[in-house]
Each structure stands twice: as structure tokens, then as C-alpha cells.
């Protein structure tokens, strides 16, 4: 699997390269600035790009903007955005194109390499992986109107885990229920959010987006 890494801190970039290579990824480019990253993403079209939000030259949200721009140039280009902090605002912007293949994680998630590598693979496969911190802040919001208000507490729980990028099997294991029960919940969620029947992955992305926009 071909990976492009955009990270300005050498130690972290080096660590990412070694971690991913150890798990059998092929690092086609590891760059430290936003313009280089944009070029690498659009020209090399990797299977997944791993992008730090804060990059030179302006050290603000250059990485995020590069990720969005690259996805405009190459729709659906899977991008996993890493940051020292997570914002619902940025998560919304990343997911706004509804194409899936988006991850948004705190940098510390790299500490547990198994989960991190799984997240990279999920994103590369077109899934949506949001950091549990984003999700927990979503949960804190009281929703009094909109389609989400119609969800039962259990369905909200399932939706939250869906937003973290977990598969139905993983959700079932986490909630100590059967796969079938989870499938029932997800179907109910899709119905309540008025998501037309299409492939499951896309509906999951749309459900998460609806969740973010609630």
C-alpha cells in the first residue's frame, strides 16, 4: 500500500515512516511542507495520505487545506489527518465532500500502532475514522431538533462508534451484542436519517456527516 506522509517535525515523520514500513506499507514520499505535500498527493496519487494539520509555510492549518485541495483535485483520495488537537469544525470540512476515505485523529493515537495501522487501512479502503475525542464532543451536544433527535440512545451509541470508524463486528464486540443487533440498529439509523439505499460504506459516511452537522 503506497503512502505519502506530510509532517514537518523530523522525529515524528521518521517515526511514522518506520512504523508504517514495519507494517508493510510502502512510503512513496515523506515531506515537511504544505506545497511539497500537495504536489506529492496529486502527482503520486497514493493509496492514502497521512497529513499533519499544522505545516509550514504559515504553520496554521496548511495541512488541512492541502488535504481538502488534494481531494478536490483527486476526488476520494484517502487522507488521514493528524493533529495535536481535534476540532469538529475541521472534521466537518474534511467530510463535506461526502466521498469517504477520511480520517481525523489526534497524534497520540500513533502510540497504539495496531489501532493506528487499522485506521490507516480503513481510511485507504474508503472508510471514515474520527477521533474518539471528536466523537465524545459530538455526544456532549444536546440535540433537540433535527433528524438526530429521533435516534434512541442505543442508536446514538452505535452511530458514535460508526463515526470512530468501527465495523459492525467491532461495534457488536464493544457493545456486547450480536452482529445482527448492530445491523438492525444501523438500518434504523439510516432510515431515520433518510439515507437512501446505496452501498453500506457510503451510507456510513453520510450518517457520520449528518451526525457532525446536527
Amino acid at each position: 500500500m503506497r503512502v505519502v506522509i506530510g509532517e514537518d517535525l523530523f522525529l515524528l515523520r521518521d517515526g511514522l515512516v518506520r512504523l508504517l514500513e514495519a507494517h508493510g506499507f510502502e512510503i512513496v514520499a515523506a515531506v515537511g511542507t504544505a506545497p511539497e505535500l500537495l504536489r506529492a498527493l496529486t502527482e503520486l496519487k497514493p493509496d492514502v495520505g497521512i497529513v499533519d494539520v499544522r505545516l509550514p509555510p504559515s504553520f496554521t492549518d496548511d495541512g488541512l487545506r492541502v488535504a481538502i485541495e488534494a481531494r478536490q483535485a483527486c476526488p476520494g483520495l484517502p487522507v488521514l489527518v493528524l493533529s495535536q488537537y481535534v476540532e469538529q469544525l475541521y472534521a466537518r470540512e474534511l467530510l463535506a465532500d461526502q466521498a469517504g476515505g477520511v480520517g481525523y485523529l489526534l497524534k497520540d493515537r500513533v502510540f497504539s500502532d495496531a489501532a493506528f495501522v487499522e485506521a490507516v487501512r480503513d481510511v485507504a479502503a474508503g472508510g471514515t475514522v474520527l477521533d474518539p475525542e471528536v466523537v465524545s464532543r459530538l455526544m456532549a451536544r444536546r440535540t433537540r431538533s433535527g433528524p438526530l433527535a429521533a435516534l434512541t440512545p442505543r442508536e446514538r451509541e452505535v452511530l458514535a462508534l460508526m463515526a470512530e470508524g468501527r465495523s459492525n463486528a467491532a461495534i457488536a464486540a464493544k457493545l456486547f451484542v450480536t452482529d445482527k443487533a448492530v445491523a438492525k440498529h444501523t438500518a434504523a439509523i439510516f432510515a431515520k436519517l433518510d439515507l437512501a439505499v446505496s452501498d453500506d460504506d457510503n451510507r456510513r459516511v453520510l450518517a457520520v456527516l449528518a451526525y457532525l452537522n446536527s
Partner: protein
């Protein structure tokens, strides 16, 4: 230890310092002839005792005695005009004598002026205004010299009218009262509006000069022709122009000379008016600057205190949070190091624990950074920072931002934290379900308004949060206002003067 000699010296000193007090018995004594019976004598005794025993208090009373005495003069003048001849003395005059009839009013006016002067001297009620006017007249006490002594000139003319047999104001009884009222008004005018009085004085001198030059000049040219003025009422026979009598037989030349001299004088004073104007402007600017310096000193102290409190909080948070956790990480790793050869499993558990702890240290640092300068504010500016804030708020928050250009960072941060505090209060205290945040920039003013639909009744003086925000805003001349009637809604308004342009010449 004080001896009787010391007491005597002290008492004499007090009396000398308050010599004005002696006016009281003097005035009282002059009413001796007015009333029969023992009353005036008693009054004299009381005032003497008062002046001797309580000189300071008596001195403060004295100006009002002078005013009263001036009023007494008016009363006597009125009696004379009514055809009575009261056989009393008024100051240095025997009022009953026909020769002295014209002198009562001037003396009354003299006491009026003396009263004003003493008021400033003794510091009685109203003395402050007099002293300020005097300071302006003299140009002392940091006040500009805006009023010349020449202002007294119109008063002298009035004075001269009071001395003369006839007035400009028609029938002499009414005229004298009008004249006296004018003197009183002039004194009040000078005290209250010295600069306007100065301008008017110059104009008045000019007009008097013009009057003389024209009227008397006309008379000079048509020598001997009487000036077309009303015939003075008996027993008066002569009209005066200033010091110059305008008898039918006299030449108009002195009047013309006086008129021209007055005109020239007024001409000399006109440039001074400009100087006084400039002085006044300088003075008002100096005053404005002084106010500004006061305000800056105050807000700088506030800003410094806010900054120090912030640093203390950051230090405490670091000390109790990230720093402590990193110490724990170090200790876990050290223990793992030692356990590695003997029990690798236990070492592994410790390493996992260290990793966990380092994650928590990072979380602590994230929270801290949010409180110092929120990342979205740094990345995107005020509008997106407020939107991100709204997304993280467990209420329905609507955000409307209408700011054409990003405000300078410190202003944006101050406004952001103000909005954050208002939203936090809405979440914690108000019982609101929705919040509206409106940020707009108009007429060089950045204005943010946070409205919630809660139950209101918030008391901004109770919380420290808004007070801190207020002090932080004050550093930019910004203000914070809270309206929270019982039953709601609660509205928090923040206003900061702020010019949005690439040229950073403003104070924001």
C-alpha cells in the same frame, strides 16, 4: 504642655488667618440705625462673639453677609426711588441726603463684588467656582490665561453710568436696577463662562466705541445740533457718553476721541481673543490627554494583572498536569528498565502505563493550549474560532459573523474569550436551550453580542469570569455590558474600538 501664652498666640494666629470674619460684626453694626430696640445690638454682640470664638466658620459666613449687605443697599435704593428719605447710614453714606442718592447702588455693587472675592478667599460654599475663575483670569494653577483683566472694562462703563446722572436704559429708576442686574449677570458670566465673557467684552468695547464715534462724530460735523435722544427726566439735564457729557452746548470732539480710542482698544484685543482661543484649545487638549493617561495607567495595571493571573494559572496547570505526568512517565520507565531482565512482563505493563500517562499529559497540554490561545483562532481567526466554539457547546448555538477583515490578534483573542465566557455562563447558569452569537464590525467598532433564551437574573458582579474579560477588554478601550432581567433573556455585549485596515495606526 500649653501655657496661656501659647493659647493666646494660637488664637491670634487663627483670627489673623480668618480676618474676613470681622466683616460679620461690621455689617451687623451698620444695621443699628435700621431697626429699633435691642435686636441689632444683640446681633452685634453675637457676631463679635462668633468672630472671636469661631473665626474660621465666621469667615465662611462673611461673604454671604456681604451679599446680604448688597441686598440691603438695593432695598435702600428702592426706598429712595419711592421718594422716601430713610435716615440711616449705608456703609460710608448717609442715605437720607440727596447728594448721596446716586452712591447707594455703586456701594451695593461693591459689596457684591467683595462678596464674590471673599467667597474665593475663604473657601466657603461656591468658593471653588470663584477660585477656578480667578485661576483662569491669572493663568495659574495649570489653567490657561483665557480672560484678561480688561474684561472689567464694560463693568467700568456700567459703573460710570451708575455714577452719572443718566443711563442708557431709559427711566433712571428701572435703569439702575437693570444696570445692577447686568453687573451681577456679568460677574456670574465671568465666573461661569470666562472665555465667552472675554469675547463678549471685546465685542462690547467695540460697539461702545462705534457708538461714540458715530453719534458724537455726527454731532461734531453738524456742530451744535442736539443729539436726537430722549430728554432726560428731571432733575437730570445731561446725557453722558462714558466720561464725556453730551450737553447741547459742548463739542462732540472728546466723545469722538473716546469712541475712536475704544475702537482701537477693541481692535488690539481681537488678536488676543485668538490667543485665548488657542490657549483654551491647548488646555482642553491637555485635559483630554490627562484623562487618557489616567485611563491608560488604570487599564495597563488591569492588563498586567490579567496577564500575571494568566501566567500563574498556566504555571499551576503545567505543574499539576503535564509536568507531574511526565515525572510519572519517567519513573515508570525507570522501573521498567530495572524489571526488564528479571520480569519482562511486569516491565511491559509499566511501559504501557507510561504510554497511557504520556497520552494524558498530552491531553492536559491540549486543554492548556486551548485556554491560552485556541488553535482555531490561531489557524483561522475569530469567525471560525467562534464557530468551533459553538460546535463544542452542548446547546444550540447560532453564529453570525459579519467582520470584513480579521481584527488584530490581541483584540480577536480578547473578544473570543469574552464570547466563550458568555457562552459558558449560558450553559452553566441560564438554563437556556439556544444561544445566538452575533459579531459585527461597524464604524470602527467591533461588537459581539451573546443572547441566550434562559431565565435571566444573572449578576455580573458575582462571577470573576466576566470581570476578568472586562479588564482584558479595557486594555483595548473595550467594554462589556450585561443585561439580564429576571425571566430573561440574558444579553452580553462586548464592544472594542477597532479599525480594520492594513494601516495599523489605530489604538486597537
Amino acid at each position: 504642655m500649653s501655657t496661656s501664652g501659647d493659647l493666646w498666640t494660637a488664637w491670634r494666629g487663627r483670627l489673623r488667618a480668618n480676618w474676613v470674619a470681622l466683616l460679620l460684626p461690621l455689617v451687623a453694626a451698620d444695621t443699628l440705625g435700621l431697626f429699633g430696640g435691642p435686636f441689632p445690638v444683640l446681633l452685634v454682640i453675637v457676631t463679635v462673639a462668633l468672630a472671636l470664638l469661631a473665626p474660621a466658620e465666621s469667615a465662611k459666613l462673611a461673604p454671604f453677609a456681604a451679599f446680604g449687605y448688597a441686598g440691603y443697599g438695593l432695598f435702600l435704593q428702592h426706598a429712595v426711588l419711592m421718594g422716601e428719605s430713610p435716615q440711616v447710614t449705608y456703609g460710608i453714606l448717609k442715605v437720607g441726603s440727596a447728594d448721596n442718592a446716586g452712591w447707594v447702588l455703586p456701594q451695593a455693587a461693591a459689596f457684591l463684588v467683595a462678596g464674590v472675592w471673599l467667597l474665593g478667599l475663604t473657601g466657603g460654599p461656591g468658593g471653588g467656582a470663584v477660585r477656578r475663575a480667578v485661576a483662569q483670569l491669572r493663568g495659574t494653577d495649570g489653567q490657561p490665561k483665557t480672560v484678561p483683566a480688561l474684561l472689567l472694562l464694560p463693568a467700568i462703563f456700567l459703573w460710570e453710568e451708575l455714577f452719572s446722572e443718566q443711563l442708557w436704559f431709559g427711566w433712571f429708576a428701572v435703569g439702575r436696577v437693570v444696570a445692577l442686574l447686568l453687573v451681577i449677570a456679568a460677574v456670574a458670566f465671568v465666573v461661569a463662562l470666562p472665555r465667552a465673557a472675554a469675547s463678549l467684552a471685546v465685542v462690547g468695547i467695540g460697539l461702545l466705541g462705534l457708538y461714540g464715534a458715530l453719534v458724537a462724530g455726527h454731532r461734531l460735523l453738524t456742530s451744535g445740533v442736539p443729539i436726537p435722544t430722549p430728554v432726560p427726566p428731571a432733575p437730570y439735564t445731561t446725557w453722558f457718553y462714558g466720561a464725556v457729557p453730551l450737553n447741547a452746548g459742548t463739542s462732540g470732539l472728546p466723545a469722538v476721541v473716546q469712541g475712536v480710542a475704544l475702537l482701537g482698544f477693541a481692535g488690539l484685543l481681537v488678536p488676543r481673543l485668538v490667543t485665548w482661543g488657542a490657549d483654551a484649545e491647548l488646555a482642553s487638549r491637555a485635559q483630554a490627554l490627562a484623562h487618557r493617561v489616567d485611563r491608560l495607567t488604570q487599564t495597563r495595571t488591569g492588563a498586567t494583572e490579567v496577564a500575571v493571573a494568566e501566567l500563574r494559572r498556566i504555571e499551576r496547570d503545567l505543574h499539576d498536569g503535564a509536568q507531574a505526568r511526565l515525572v510519572a512517565v519517567g519513573m515508570s520507565l525507570r522501573a521498567a528498565e530495572q524489571l526488564m531482565p528479571t520480569s519482562p512482563d511486569a516491565a511491559l505493563a509499566l511501559v504501557a502505563e507510561a504510554r497511557e500517562t504520556s497520552s494524558r499529559a498530552l491531553a492536559d497540554l491540549r486543554d492548556l493550549v486551548r485556554g491560552i490561545y485556541p488553535p482555531v483562532l490561531a489557524d483561522r481567526g475569530l469567525a471560525d474560532a467562534v464557530r468551533a466554539l459553538a460546535l463544542d457547546t452542548p446547546l444550540e448555538v447560532t453564529v453570525e459573523v459579519d467582520v470584513p477583515e480579521e481584527p488584530p490578534m490581541p483584540v480577536a483573542a480578547a473578544v473570543y474569550f469574552g464570547i466563550a465566557e458568555a457562552i459558558t455562563n449560558a450553559v452553566v447558569h441560564s438554563g437556556a436551550t439556544t444561544v445566538l452569537v452575533h459579531v459585527a464590525h461597524a464604524e470602527d467598532m467591533l461588537r459581539a453580542q451573546v443572547t441566550d433564551d434562559g431565565h435571566g437574573g444573572a449578576d455580573p458582579s458575582l462571577g470573576t469570569g466576566l470581570a476578568g474579560v472586562e479588564r482584558r477588554l479595557a486594555a483595548f478601550d473595550g467594554i462589556l455590558a450585561v443585561s439580564s432581567p429576571a425571566g430573561g433573556p440574558t444579553i452580553v455585549v462586548i464592544e472594542v474600538p477597532c479599525v480594520l485596515s492594513s494601516a495599523k495606526t489605530s489604538s486597537c
